[in-house]
Symmetry: D2
Subunit: 339 residues, 4 copies
Amino acid sequence: MDRVRVSILGATGLVGQWMVKLLANHPFIEVVGLSASPGKVGRKYGEVVHWFIPGDVPEYARDITLVSTDPPDHKSADVVLSALPNDVAWPIESRLLSAGLNVISNASPERMNPRIPLINPEVNWEHLNILREVKGNWVVKNPNCTAAIISMPIKPIQDLIDSLHIVTLQSVSGAGYLGLSYLAIDGNVIPFIKGEEEKIEAELNKMLGKQFPEKFEPWGKPVYVTTTRVPVKYGHMAVIHAVLTKDVDTEYIINRLSRFRSLPQERELPTAPREPIKVINRVDAPQPARDLDPMAVSVGRVSVRDRVLRLVALGDNLVRGAAGITILTVETMKALGIL
Amino acid sequence: MDRVRVSILGATGLVGQWMVKLLANHPFIEVVGLSASPGKVGRKYGEVVHWFIPGDVPEYARDITLVSTDPPDHKSADVVLSALPNDVAWPIESRLLSAGLNVISNASPERMNPRIPLINPEVNWEHLNILREVKGNWVVKNPNCTAAIISMPIKPIQDLIDSLHIVTLQSVSGAGYLGLSYLAIDGNVIPFIKGEEEKIEAELNKMLGKQFPEKFEPWGKPVYVTTTRVPVKYGHMAVIHAVLTKDVDTEYIINRLSRFRSLPQERELPTAPREPIKVINRVDAPQPARDLDPMAVSVGRVSVRDRVLRLVALGDNLVRGAAGITILTVETMKALGIL
Amino acid sequence: MDRVRVSILGATGLVGQWMVKLLANHPFIEVVGLSASPGKVGRKYGEVVHWFIPGDVPEYARDITLVSTDPPDHKSADVVLSALPNDVAWPIESRLLSAGLNVISNASPERMNPRIPLINPEVNWEHLNILREVKGNWVVKNPNCTAAIISMPIKPIQDLIDSLHIVTLQSVSGAGYLGLSYLAIDGNVIPFIKGEEEKIEAELNKMLGKQFPEKFEPWGKPVYVTTTRVPVKYGHMAVIHAVLTKDVDTEYIINRLSRFRSLPQERELPTAPREPIKVINRVDAPQPARDLDPMAVSVGRVSVRDRVLRLVALGDNLVRGAAGITILTVETMKALGIL
Amino acid sequence: MDRVRVSILGATGLVGQWMVKLLANHPFIEVVGLSASPGKVGRKYGEVVHWFIPGDVPEYARDITLVSTDPPDHKSADVVLSALPNDVAWPIESRLLSAGLNVISNASPERMNPRIPLINPEVNWEHLNILREVKGNWVVKNPNCTAAIISMPIKPIQDLIDSLHIVTLQSVSGAGYLGLSYLAIDGNVIPFIKGEEEKIEAELNKMLGKQFPEKFEPWGKPVYVTTTRVPVKYGHMAVIHAVLTKDVDTEYIINRLSRFRSLPQERELPTAPREPIKVINRVDAPQPARDLDPMAVSVGRVSVRDRVLRLVALGDNLVRGAAGITILTVETMKALGIL
């Protein structure tokens, strides 16, 4: 199989580090460039990175010399993966686009642009098909980390849902390594995350809707979301109450969830989880400390009463919610022949 | 004003300690007995208690000799306050009743008994009126700690509500001092608390309904609750999504909540908060670490969209949710002339 | 008694907030000015401050209009109290000095200047006497928070000590409100605090030594310190192993510690703790969560074996270690007639 | 190589689970029995165990039927590995001994018995040689978890040391899964662990001393230890100040530590770490959250000043400190031909 050459923007941040880690020993994706902020350009990745995540800096990445975010520094990449912070991402990404490069990005700006596909591979890989009609280069966005996790268990039961009430309990790593001080969040809950509820509502509706070349048609169901930050390091949880359109029982829902498979599973893509939704029987699952899977969404407490379905979903905000979803998008696009 | 003499069952536990603390210097309630488990009977409270809570053991309580839970040990009390664990409470409480004593109890058994009033004073003090027709002695139950907190902001808008979706984030102290090990809950969320959801749904419906001498008529609205345990020491939070029966705006709801006053406020009872519901403007309120009030319920994030009201409520599970509510019930019954 | 007028530099920070709080209702110290960084000047304290600490912004301070750190803004103050960050403090403080103002400062620069007294009132108030010979205005420094706490139990047994081995377990608030991220310190210990060990060793030696107008003579005993940061919000703990010069028993040490009184106690200064050293009998004391006192140092685990004394000391790093010590220094200087 | 058949006592506890995990796919140790408390006997391990530790219950162990601790249930084992709680261990272990079985035990009773070797393989494997002279069966003890960790970096510099001052910061898992409640230890430090200081002092002295068939000759250097419990899940840290007998420099010490190898390394035993002592250069190492190694001891902050050496050691209390050391002892005894 042909290799795909990628470069990574924001390679020293929390999401960038996960991309570097997940691409060690990848069967067909090759890292040809790592870029970081101007002060670090020209130095070696292994010397500069403040490695926060488990394990060591992968061997292959240590001696890579950091480059800038300027287009000429990325011209050997088939696609540029962006793990840039939301507030600086778009000017850099659009400069790369103008220079003829392809971009897959985790950053929030332009996610709701009607011509840009917003992709969680298992949920809406079909939306990538519009790129077949695009001449030249393209940009693909990955969703907000929480929208990535929630969209997974909603997808297989989408047709049964009339409205959604969602309360999230999100981990501190979602705010970045320095995002929340110990004094602010330890032993505390902060029931507000700026901009998060709007993103989840809009992005769920886009991913579960239809994508056309020039526009998208949203799913159209009301989604009410309250987001909270809890003193947990890794893993976002969502408690979902879904008002259903017809009578079904708990067993029926569990079957649909646990049997769900999509293109990444059918093609056995390297980063795809074998079961995208892991329904756990234990009465007190899922828990971040016990049940967190890098790419699958863990689901527990499934029950239906009077046409209201309740379930609790848990996913890895840095892997399924960010670095892993980007890589799975590369793999999916390769499998579809778009990349 | 006449004094009310009380004795406390389970005086060395977490809730019992709060009762002892809150009754120090009370204007008209006098502690005439403290009881504990058999191994401690005959010893002094101050020597036996492993004081977990802020401050020191109140002066008055230190030299009180612990008694048993047998009725003769409580005959000088006008009312016995029970802070007994749920699994041992009822046999002891019913023995006291059979012996002609009055009991106000925090323990869960018999809360849904149709002849026993379940009282959160600001919410349903009127239910106490059935006791005027009771000959002889009586038992009054206080609600589950989370039901006590949630019922407060629901009461003033009860007539506007069609159904409720509630997700709770409950603190570790709700499980007792030794209830959860550090390894189990630190940096974790456990999305299940045994029996809690059923209690909240049933008790809310009883308190918001009507009480007759022989039965109660529940409120009758569907209440969907998911409870979770979070690594916070004190304070239970509830995220409430209420489906409304008609169009109202956010300002209207805030007004109803913040202007709510009930009998405990009108009679200026010593343990009553001046404002039972504190609506906090700060965008990220309420937080356990910053906004916890002993007897008032703190409310934030109030907003209405398409006939769905969202609010976040926070209350002190040990004071408003347990020890304080019991004492406020004594004060309310005294004010009503029932005690 | 005459009033002392003070202004506070860095009034919106963690230490500045504690100064503002501790000076509410002070019998003779009056706050005549609060200053903050340029962006906040001209606005009201109550509107600008992000109040981190328990309770509300004191009534008196809410409507004070913030001023700059320039000398003319402080000319009505008898003494300027500095809660400035270490890296910006000295240029500002020396400008105030040049302009003829008096300064008491918590910031670290110039603490080891041989002409500047470094004061923990109970430990070395006598060092203030050199100011009687100074013509004109002066600066006094308060010690590093950990040195403030450790110097207290060492003072009364100073003559018995040959060398000291100290290991500290310091709370996160010592690094400021935003000083340590949750991901960095939760569930972790960081056995290094930049510059801290050197400060503790040098400052202990200065405070326990002699102060002359032009120089000081250090105590001269070897002090070996290792500092660690632990996931605790408030309170610094130090485990002290002291090699003794002669045979004494545990009881003798406990007596010396618990009977220690100094000028602040003799003059009954408002901020002085009645007992500066609280020796706690409980076998597992002192604990930050149970035994933290604002101004006294809690001591436990005192024992002597083979001429090695072991004790554990715990103090409030923001009050005894910073804001409280500054105010107690003002009170002490007033009592001595220097201010 | 011949296989060694082992059975495990206390297989469902925290240490027992680690033994089960570490023995999955072991090249020559075979698990032939798992025993648990009477209520669990006869049921399958995989159904009964409440698996606390990372990963899943190993495949091989799931269907093993739990046996009792009675000798007949262990007669097929070449050696019985005991992960029993300290308070019940010895009667069971001595019953197995009387019945002619060999035992290697983590439990504390009889560790200081002069005829029983106390073994941390890299530190004092030579002590096992006395068993060559023993007719029949034997018992070997493993040290206290903290003594296991501390003895490692002391061993290679033992000859330079005059006395030791040690302060430990021990994780919560050292007290067992349910050992400490969240309310007791979160955000707190408890500067006392019952019996721990005595064990560390005595056991260090035994392991660093000489073992004869009938007695041991302790190392004989004074060791002063203060132990504390900190809110960390896994990993025990020790800050060590060693008074040296002669002048050496920091580099010299680092060389001795990092070059240390012992019999387990020379024989390349499967559970032996390649480098038993990992000296980490990073200024703020070692940290439990970043530097914990299962079998090696991580060391940082090495420095010598005036004949006082300071270093910070960190080890895994459940692996190097308990389950791993037992398995490494089996491997060492096999390599020595004793087993």
